[in-house]
């Protein structure tokens, strides 16, 4: 296990360094997040629907699509000069490769969310002061599930034509359960309701993370074999 994680860290560090150098995907995802929040902010009628009713859905739609931009790039950068071939020849387990991409994607999506959340608070004027910690916890819980599934699917579609189009089409159905859970929990948190009201949704999010992280770890090796 130690070796798997050590190799995963080497590859993840390289991915983060590449992203830090180019900043292409990070800038795109951040600008996308800001634009979506702006569009929703000006495109809604505050007298028709209360902000508090709409805000959780807007937050999660924004984060879901921003995450997809991040997930698309995970294996794209291995296609440059066919570096993926070198990774597959190297004496590292395929599991290391999956965890590397998982770590790097989590870090990448976390940065986008860390920029998106203050913008969301700013645009929608929602009261997050007292619930910031649980809200960050829910975002982390849902993000882990998104990234676990998304990393697997981005490896599956990378050798297909129109990979960037295929990924959202394949991913969105799998995102529905955690998306519903995340929206429900966020709504209750913003209404200052006790967490006990959403313990079922929290369990669903945790179970989704565990199940899909395990499944993806097991399935990944066969997805990258030619």
């Amino acid at each position: 296990m130690g070796e798997v994680l050590r190799h995963a860290w080497i590859v993840a560090k390289k991915d983060l360094l590449l992203e830090f150098r180019s900043r292409t995907a990070l800038v795109s995802a951040t600008v996308f997040t800001a634009l979506v929040l702006t569009v929703f902010n000006f495109g809604r009628d505050p007298t028709a629907v209360a902000t508090i009713d709409l805000a959780p859905s807007i937050l999660w739609v924004t984060f879901t699509f921003a995450a997809m931009l991040a997930l698309n790039r995970a294996f794209q950068l291995e296609l440059e000069n066919q570096a993926l071939e070198g990774l597959l020849v190297a004496p590292i387990s395929r599991t290391s490769l999956y965890w590397a991409k998982f770590f790097a994607n989590c870090a990448f999506v976390a940065v986008v969310e860390a920029i998106g959340l203050p913008l969301f608070v700013l645009f929608f004027d929602v009261p997050v002061g007292g619930v910031l910690l649980p809200l960050v916890g829910v975002i982390a819980l849902a993000t882990l599930g998104f990234v676990a599934v998304g990393t697997l699917f981005s490896a599956m579609v990378i050798r297909t034509r129109f990979a960037e189009l295929m990924l959202p089409v394949l991913l969105l159905p799998f995102f529905i359960p955690p998306l519903i859970g995340a929206v429900q929990v966020t709504a209750r948190l913003l209404e200052a309701r006790p967490l006990s009201e959403v313990s079922g949704w929290l369990r669903l999010l945790a179970a989704y993370d565990i199940v899909f992280l395990t499944l993806a770890t097991l399935l990944f090796p066969s997805t990258v074999m030619e």
Binding site: L18, E85, V89
Partner: protein
């Protein structure tokens, strides 16, 4: 030792490998000739563990750690410097940092790229990137070198330089080099194979044959095969 036993693999109904069997010991350099689509790359990918063959068995003594893989793609990251690329690949093979830093400097000096060490790979020419790719494959001092069309993109001088380096590396190592160009690599070979439609139509020691003899035998074998 590198061993292939009755390897079979197909893409749809096209055979890329059709009963290929051979064994190589250290010191042997097998140069594999064949037209496009003959299955040379598939054979190398099976030996490298990139493709699981539909039938038969391939083994490399020492496993993945013993293999150095060079293809016509550089397998390098354009945004990273030459040094960062080499250290990254060495780390994946568990080469200690101190050793890999010294080895990177040595290999780049031998390949005439010591002054490119801190440049991002994206600014290098195709030939320079290919030379860095050669250094990448040698960073973990592999016992087996698998080379798929490695001369692609190299000019005459760089190709000659690369052949010299391979000659130097050949002692004590096993090298399998695939190319469709008979003029490339003949002089490096201890053994020659011609592959056509997934089969070895000729597999024999080079036995002093020159490029023109090989070219004649190749044309004949591929036509008949």
């Amino acid at each position: 030792m590198v061993r292939a036993e009755d390897l079979r693999h197909s893409y749809g109904n096209v055979w890329a490998l059709d009963g290929i069997t051979f064994a190589l010991v250290p010191g042997q350099t097998l140069v594999l000739f064949g037209p496009n689509g003959a299955g040379k790359t598939t054979l190398l990918k099976v030996l490298a563990g990139l493709i699981r063959p539909a039938g038969g068995r391939a083994s490399v003594e020492g496993g993945a750690r013993a293999v150095g893989w060079i293809s016509h793609h550089s397998l390098l990251y354009g945004q990273l410097t030459v040094r960062e690329n080499l250290l990254f690949w060495a780390a994946l093979y568990d080469v200690p940092r101190r050793v890999s830093a010294a080895r990177a400097a040595d290999l780049l000096a031998r390949l005439g790229l010591e002054d490119r060490m801190d440049l991002p790979v994206r600014v290098l020419s195709r030939g320079q990137a290919q030379r860095v790719s050669i250094a990448r494959a040698l960073m973990h001092d592999p016992h087996v070198l698998l080379l798929d069309e490695p001369f692609t993109g190299l000019d005459l001088a760089a190709a000659a330089e690369f052949r010299g380096l391979l000659r130097e590396l050949a002692g004590g190592r096993i090298i399998v080099l695939a190319t469709h160009n008979v003029d490339e690599g003949v002089e490096l070979a201890t053994d020659i194979a011609f592959q056509s439609r997934g089969r070895f139509v000729h597999f024999a020691p080079r036995a002093g044959r020159g490029p023109s003899d090989i070219a004649d035998a190749y044309r004949e074998a591929v036509r008949d095969g």
